[in-house]
C-alpha cells in the first residue's frame, strides 16, 4: 500500500483516472488520447498547485512519510565502498544510528546518520530511529577516527528525538548529547550535516554541529514535535497543525531564521518519488560544500564554525 497524504489526494485521484483512461484506450477501440492529454496537462498544473503551496503541516506529514528515504537509502546512492562499523566500545551497539566509512567521488569520508526502519520489525530493531547514549557515543567514536585520518564527516539527520527511556537516562543521555556537541565543535575536519526527515530536538542536534547545515525541502527541524508543542503551549496535542505553523520548523523557516545554509529542493510529491533522482540534488549541494571546505586551513575551519553558531539567536542590546 502506498501512503497517500491528505493534501495530495486530488493529485493521486487525477493520476489514477489518467491511468484508467490509458488502460481503457489500450483495451478498447475507443480513442481517448485527446482527453488524456487534457487531463495530463491539468495534472501538471494541479501538481504545481498542490506541491507548490505546501503548508507546514503538509511538510511534517511528508517528513514522516512511511516511504521517505532513510540514511542508508542515500548512502547507497551517494557513496561507494561503504563499510558500516558497530559499537561504542563502552556498552553496546545502537542500531538507531548507522556509522561507517565510504568514498565520495573517490575520496574517503566518514558517514553517520540516524536510521529508521522500513517496516515494523526493522523499526523495533532500530528503535524507530531514536538513539540511546551508546548511539551517540558510537557516532563520536567514528568522528574522532575521521579526525585522526583526516576525512570529512557527513551526517544525515532523521530522528523524532533521542529516546526518552529509563535505560537511556541511566546511561547518560544528556551527557552523551552534550559531549557530542562539545566534541564536534573541535573536530579538525569538515562536517556537513543534512536533515533528510525529522530533526527532532537535542537528539538531532547531537549529529548536527557542522560547517554546513542543509535541509531537504520537506524536512523539519525543531526544538519539540508539533504535538509536544501543542500539548505544552495549549494543553491540547490536537492543535499540532497550528503548532507546526507557529513553531517555524520547515526548511524555509530555518533559512529565514539563519540557522541553515541551503534548502535542498525536493521532487514534486516528495523525496520518496525517486530516491536516485533526489540523491542527485543532495549530491550537488554536498559536493559544493566539500569543495568549499576541503582546503580551508584547520584553524580557519574551526573559527568559522564558531562564528557560524555564535550569530544564531535573536536579542537586542540596550
Amino acid at each position: 500500500m502506498k501512503q497517500v497524504l491528505e493534501f495530495e489526494k486530488p493529485v493521486m485521484e487525477l493520476r489514477e483516472k489518467i491511468a484508467e483512461l490509458k488502460k481503457f484506450t489500450a483495451e478498447s477501440d475507443m480513442d481517448l488520447t485527446s482527453e488524456i492529454e487534457t487531463l495530463e496537462q491539468r495534472l501538471v498544473k494541479l501538481e504545481e498547485d498542490v506541491y507548490g503551496n505546501m503548508k507546514p503541516w503538509d511538510r511534517v506529514q511528508m517528513a514522516r512519510h512511511a516511504e521517505r528515504p532513510t540514511t542508508l537509502d542515500y548512502v547507497k546512492e551517494l557513496f561507494t565502498h561503504f563499510l558500516e562499523f558497530h559499537g561504542d566500545r563502552l556498552y553496546g551497539d545502537d542500531e538507531a544510528i548507522v556509522s561507517g566509512v565510504a568514498k565520495y567521488k573517490g575520496k574517503p569520508v566518514t558517514v553517520i546518520g540516524h536510521q529508521r526502519g522500513k517496516d515494523t520489525k526493522e523499526n523495533i530493531r532500530r528503535n524507530f530511529g531514536m538513539p540511546h547514549p551508546e548511539g551517540y557515543r558510537k557516532a563520536l567514536r567514528h568522528m574522532k577516527q575521521a579526525e585522526k585520518f583526516n576525512r570529512p564527516i557527513i551526517c544525515f539527520i532523521d530522528t523524532k528525538g533521542a529516546y526518552p527511556g529509563k535505560a537511556a537516562e541511566e546511561r547518560g543521555q544528556s551527557e552523551a548529547i552534550a559531549r557530542n556537541l562539545m566534541e564536534m565543535a573541535g573536530l579538525r575536519v569538515p562536517i556537513i550535516c543534512i536533515v533528510i526527515g525529522e530533526g527532532g530536538s537535542g537528539g538531532a542536534l547531537a549529529l548536527g554541529v557542522g560547517d554546513r547545515i542543509h535541509m531537504l525541502e520537506n524536512s523539519t527541524y525543531s526544538v519539540i514535535s508539533p504535538e509536544g508543542a501543542a500539548a505544552l503551549l495549549w494543553k491540547d496535542s490536537g492543535l499540532a497543525q497550528k503548532a507546526a505553523e507557529t513553531m517555524m520548523i520547515t526548511s524555509y523557516d530555518l533559512k529565514k531564521l539563519q540557522v541553515i545554509d541551503d534548502i535542498i529542493p525536493e521532487l514534486k510529491g516528495g523525496a520518496h518519488r525517486d530516491v536516485a533522482l533526489q540523491a542527485t540534488e543532495i549530491d550537488h549541494v554536498l559536493n559544493q560544500s566539500l569543495q568549499e571546505l576541503y582546503d580551508l586551513p584547520k584553524e580557519e575551519l574551526l573559527e568559522k564554525r564558531w562564528e557560524k553558531y555564535k550569530q544564531i539567536g535573536d536579542y537586542s542590546t540596550l
Partner: protein, 286 residues
C-alpha cells in the same frame, strides 16, 4: 526552633496540615514541601534556604546564590543589557518576559559576571528558575557563551550553577541552537586550558542538561536536585513501567556515574574553594 514557637503559642501538639497551610502568613513564613514544617523566611535564608529540620534544599534565587558564594563587594555583573526578542512572534511572550523581569529584577534567566571566592577570581553564570522556569532562549545562550569567552580572555575559571526546565519553547529552534553555541564556547575554553565547574541545582532538565550542565571538567549537583534529559511523564508513557522513586535525582545520577559529587549547600563554598586551590586559581597557561 520555629516549631517550638508555633506549638507554644498555639498550644497545639501538632497542626493539621490543611489548617497549617491556611495559617501561613504570606511572605513572612515558608513551609518546607518535604517535611511540612513551617519556618520564618529569615531563618531559612540564614540557613542558605536549606530546611533546618530535614535538610531539604529549597531553591535559591541567583542573587542569593551569588551572595552565598562570593566575597563581599567583588561581584561584577556582565551583559545586563541584552534584551529578549520575539523571533517567532508568539502572542504575549514579551509581556510574560517583562513580568518575570519585574518579579525577579533580572534581565533574563541567568546572571553572569565575575567575582572572588575566598580570593580566587572566577567567572560564573547562575541561572534563576523563577524567570520563565529558567528556560534557555537566545539571551540565556548568548550571556552564557559570552561569559565563557570572557573567562577565556581573562584566563580565569568558569563556574556555572544550572537551574532550568530546558529550552524556551517560544523561541523555537533558536533556543535549541543555544545548546550548540554554549557547547562550542566551552570547547574553545577547554582547549585553551580553562577550568569549568558545573553545579546542577533543582531542576536541570532537557536542553540545559544536554549541553553545558553535563560537560564541566567537574560535574556536581545539590542533594535531591531533579536532573535529566526527558521528562518523567514522557518516559512513563513511553515505557509503561514504573520508575524508581529516586529516578533522575542527583543521587541517582551519582550512582550511575554521571556526577563527581553531590554537595550539600553548606559545603558548596568550601568544596569549590578547595578545588580552585588545587587548580592554583585555575589560571590558564598563556
Amino acid at each position: 526552633m520555629l516549631k517550638d514557637f508555633f506549638s507554644k503559642k498555639k498550644k497545639y501538639a501538632s497542626i493539621p496540615r490543611e489548617e497549617a497551610k491556611q495559617e501561613i502568613p504570606e511572605g513572612l513564613m515558608q513551609k518546607c514541601p518535604n517535611c511540612h514544617k513551617i519556618f520564618y523566611r529569615k531563618e531559612l535564608k540564614k540557613n542558605l534556604n536549606v530546611c533546618p529540620n530535614c535538610s531539604f534544599h529549597h531553591q535559591m534565587t541567583a542573587r542569593e546564590r551569588i551572595d552565598s558564594l562570593f566575597d563581599e563587594h567583588t561581584f561584577e555583573e556582565w551583559d545586563q543589557n541584552i534584551i529578549t526578542e520575539n523571533p517567532l512572534g508568539f502572542p504575549d511572550y514579551l509581556e510574560k518576559v517583562e513580568k518575570d523581569r519585574e518579579k525577579t529584577g533580572l534581565n533574563e534567566a541567568v546572571v553572569t559576571g565575575k567575582g572572588k571566592m575566598q580570593g580566587f577570581e572566577t567567572a560564573f553564570a547562575v541561572m534563576d528558575s523563577r524567570f520563565r522556569m529558567g528556560s534557555m532562549g537566545s539571551v540565556v545562550g548568548e550571556k552564557i557563551a559570552r561569559a565563557i569567552e570572557k573567562a577565556k580572555e581573562q584566563k580565569i575559571p568558569f563556574i556555572i550553577f544550572t537551574a532550568s526546565g530546558g529550552a524556551r519553547m517560544q523561541e523555537g529552534v533558536l533556543s535549541l541552537m543555544q545548546m550548540t553555541k554554549t557547547s562550542i564556547a566551552i570547547k574553545r575554553f577547554s582547549e585553551a586550558g580553562g577550568l569549568m565547574i558545573s553545579v546542577m541545582t533543582h531542576p536541570t532538565t532537557g536542553g540545559v542538561s544536554a549541553s553545558f550542565a553535563s560537560i564541566g571538567d567537574y560535574n556536581f549537583a545539590e542533594p535531591g536536585a531533579l536532573i535529566g534529559f526527558a521528562g518523567r511523564r514522557i518516559i512513563e508513557q513511553t515505557i509503561r513501567e514504573e520508575l524508581p522513586e529516586d529516578f533522575q535525582t542527583a543521587e541517582f545520577l551519582l550512582k550511575h556515574g554521571h556526577l563527581d559529587q553531590v554537595i550539600e549547600r553548606q559545603d558548596m563554598k568550601e568544596v569549590l574553594t578547595t578545588l580552585l586551590d588545587i587548580h592554583e586559581g585555575g589560571a590558564q597557561p598563556s
